[in-house]
Amino acid sequence: MKRILKLMAVAVFLLAPVSSLYAAPLRVRLAEFKVTGAANRDELRGSLQALLASRLEGGELQVVDAGEKADLDVAGTYILFGKVFSLDARVSSSGKVVARAFEQGESADDTIPAMGRLAQKLLQEIGKYAAKGGEASGAAVAVRGVQESKGEVIRPEPAAAKNAEGDIIRAERSVRAEGSGMIGQRLEGDLLGMALIRRIDAEQREIVVADQKEIRLYLQGKELRLLAAEKGFGEDENIIGIDSADLDSDGTAELYVTALRGSELSSRVYLVEKGGLRKIASDLPYYFRAITIKGAERKVLAQQMGRDEDFFGDLYEVAKKGSGFTIVNPVRLPRFANLFNTNIIPAKGGGELFVVLHPDGYLLVYDRKGENLWRGSDKFGGSETYFHREDSQNMRVTGSQYRKRFIEQRLTVTASGEVIVPRNEGSFVMGNSRSFNKSSVYAFAWNGAALEELWHTKVSQNYLADYAYDQESRELILLEVVKKEGLGEKGASAIAVKRVE
């Protein structure tokens, strides 16, 4: 009998923690980390937050999103001095600090293990707090360790665990997304350009994508349906960009294809009609880029190529007259600006300013006289798209008969004056060798003195080749390269749609 009682006592002791699993979990809200002294601060803020969240999440704790009610708030900081870092966390309830914990390490390699240790400490502290009856929901919380099965592998959170607030991280605020927004459909090829043709309804739109030799028209809904493809580009012809507009306002969008034949411009214009593409002009000596002025007027701008200069002279507006195209209204560009790295934003108090992406990736703002008003300190842009120019005069120095000229990521200005700019990053980016493998999209607003960040998307593990912004639905349509072309291997791309809340 004694033995039976002993066994029962042991069973009760062992099962006690299990019973807690059926209790209501504590709801914990995790803020973005504050990061000091480290490069890539923006990226780290969200990454560290995600690391800690995945280690706290479990039967006893439920990590909730920024907008939801929570029993506890956790704020973390990451401070780097030389190679030594410290992870500090503070747990508060109704503004009152109820627990603190920290962990430190001596190299970046130790960051993830340290985060695991920090999570374990926090769980213990939160357990103590809950055991005291605290101000929490009264749920019993058992102290547990970080699940061994997770190890150091950070698994992407399933889409079901995320709410549908959008995929945008507001400055100083984390907003989770409904997945990555990516349409799970591989598009063949390393695509390099995209253009939004028209919005059909709330669920569907027509988009065009392009690689170096081909243009494809898709109906984009929850999946992509190929409507038409144009492959009539020769072996020495290369597309470097596509843009769309309806310049003659006839209800049919034109597709402006910037292409080179050899080292010379040989661009084309197509009409996108009846679910197909019809060529209406070819061998045009212009680079094209479409921009929206003040959120309404869609214009196509053009620039020409010189004998020595890749981008010759002023910027022009393209005018469509019948089936012909001319360039009108020249605009003098400021320093570092060319058609592909420039847009126009409204100035405070009227007038317009140029926003320019510097060749090194810094955002610049100029007035119409060309005076530089502001220069950012973070790098943006980054494109793998380039064209060749004959350069045999410098062959002795460069070793090549041709030189590469990269074109820059498009800058978009929204109806409300926000400046949208992508950022590509990569480990294999040096000189003229570019292979980006991470991307995000940022938005800024001009406050009269500087560009201030409004939001940015979470980092994607893919190179962003191009994007479009749907003003009406406030959605970003992102063209991401999910598989780079390799030796004997074809590349693949995908479309992601992210809503800007």
Partner: protein, 452 residues
């Protein structure tokens, strides 16, 4: 208190270490190129040896070149450009510039290989649209390299005033260190002035002047420098143009030289040169055409004789190019590395006889495959005595594959049919560099390129 100060100092040091050392933007570029040659003329040492027919020998070797460029940008208006070169012959070599060591191609690779290509400061003048480059920098003449494309120590300023792009420069390319004379006395200097005007997007015209003063030719020099020019003072004026006409991209120049040829009695100089090149869209690729004329003299330099042979900066042709030829044997190719030699040396002037050449080719690509085929003919512009000026005719072909975006591999073959001036069995009919009954030279080679 002292302990506190020590702690504070340590904290300050740690904080300083955490801050980036300098606010510099670092930019790196580089290239790697390797050739594997089988040739009866190229030797891997930069010489071109014609072999008598029947004594034909086949050389086979590999060589490589890497270049690394580091640019330290302090701001948009100031940067330091450094550029280095590393050459190696597989198996190593110890001649020429490797007198005291081998290159790194020998066993254990311990040779001294690193060479300076460029080191210069590149800055903009505040509040003026003028850029200045100061130091050892690349220079390309406006005569398609027939006078001199080189890396040299000097200063070069370029302005940008609307459609006008003027520039002026000074280079000191030789300094005789004979201590009997003050430093700066026996020098070879270049002064250049250039202006380009973009008429519109399709037409650019330019004018150019180069003065070369060669004090080392006064007879006082004790330095035997093969790179010294033959002339003492040369003024070169030229006009050039670049235009896009329909499917063709055209480039042309014409230039006239005058001055004092050598230090001997009354040897004046009067020479001229011209070239035109065209790249014409045709089918899936381009047709390349080029013609070159450098004036020559049918009489060897002598007292009281006006020399009419075009002068290059370096008399041995070290710094002379004509890349539009797209040849490998008649005129060295711009893509050559250590094997940078051609029939009868790289001296385009052929010892003052001048040169006349016609070249044609086609290049294209199909997906990742690229190809080219070229042909060219060259002869001296003038013949001396019984000489026959025919140098030869070259045909060459290339087929390559783009392995990665920045890397390609190709196989190439070039064959020259020698003219009588290069292989006549009669010595008086041959021009310098020729050999009696010489076999037609060829070169078959694989090439690997990587650039970033």
């Amino acid at each position: 208190m002292k302990k506190n100060l020590v702690v504070l100092g340590a904290v300050a040091l740690s904080a300083a270490a955490a801050v980036p050392a300098l606010a510099l933007e670092n930019e790196f570029h580089g290239m790697y190129r390797a050739y594997g040659y089988v040739s009866n003329a190229h030797t891997g040492g930069g010489t071109f040896n014609l072999k008598t027919d029947g004594q034909d020998r086949t050389n086979s070797y590999m060589e490589q070149r890497a270049r690394l460029q580091y640019i330290a940008k302090a701001s948009d208006d100031l940067k330091l450009v450094t550029h280095f070169e590393l050459d190696s012959l597989f198996g190593g070599q110890n001649g020429g510039k490797y007198t005291n060591t081998t290159d790194s191609g020998s066993l254990d690779a311990d040779g001294v290989t690193l060479e300076t290509k460029n080191v210069y400061l590149d800055f903009n003048i505040p509040s003026a649209p003028v850029n200045v480059k100061l130091g050892v920098q690349p220079y390309a003449d406006a005569y398609m390299g027939t006078f001199g494309n080189f890396d040299g120590a000097g200063a070069y300023a370029t302005g940008k005033f609307g459609a006008f792009t003027p520039s002026v420069g000074w280079f000191r390319v030789n300094e005789d260190k004979n201590l009997a004379y003050p430093i700066g006395k026996l020098t070879t200097d270049l002064i250049t002035a250039d202006v380009k005007f973009a008429v519109n997007k399709d037409v650019t015209v330019g004018a150019n002047y180069i003065y070369m003063g060669n004090d080392g030719r006064t007879g006082n020099s004790t330095v035997a420098d093969a790179a010294l020019p033959n002339a003492e003072k040369v003024h070169t004026f030229g006009l050039n143009a670049s235009a896009k006409v329909g499917p063709a991209a055209l480039n042309a120049f014409a230039a006239y030289q005058f001055g004092d040829y050598k230090d001997a009695t009354n040897q004046e100089l009067s020479a001229y040169a011209g070239a035109v090149t065209a790249k014409i869209k045709a089918g899936p690729g381009n047709v390349n055409l080029a013609a070159l004329y450098l004036s020559g003299d049918d009489t060897a330099p002598a007292a009281n004789h006006k020399q009419e042979g075009w002068q290059s900066l370096a008399s041995n042709g070290t710094t002379s190019y004509f890349n539009a030829a797209n040849t490998w044997l008649l005129i060295r190719n711009g893509a050559c590395i250590n094997t940078s030699a051609s029939i009868g040396t790289n001296d385009l002037t052929k010892g003052g006889r001048g040169l006349m050449g016609f070249f044609a080719g086609y290049e294209g690509s199909a997906g990742k495959v690229f190809y080219a085929a070229n042909a060219g003919y060259a002869q001296t512009a003038e013949e001396r005595g019984n000489e026959d000026g025919a140098i030869g005719t070259e045909v060459n072909a290339t087929v390559g594959y783009k392995l990665y975006d920045n890397m390609s591999a190709s196989i190439n073959y070039a064959h020259a049919f020698l003219g009588k001036g290069m292989n006549s069995t009669t010595a008086s009919e041959r021009i310098p560099g020729g050999a009696s009954d010489a076999a037609d030279p060829y070169a078959a080679f694989v090439r690997i390129d990587y650039a970033f």
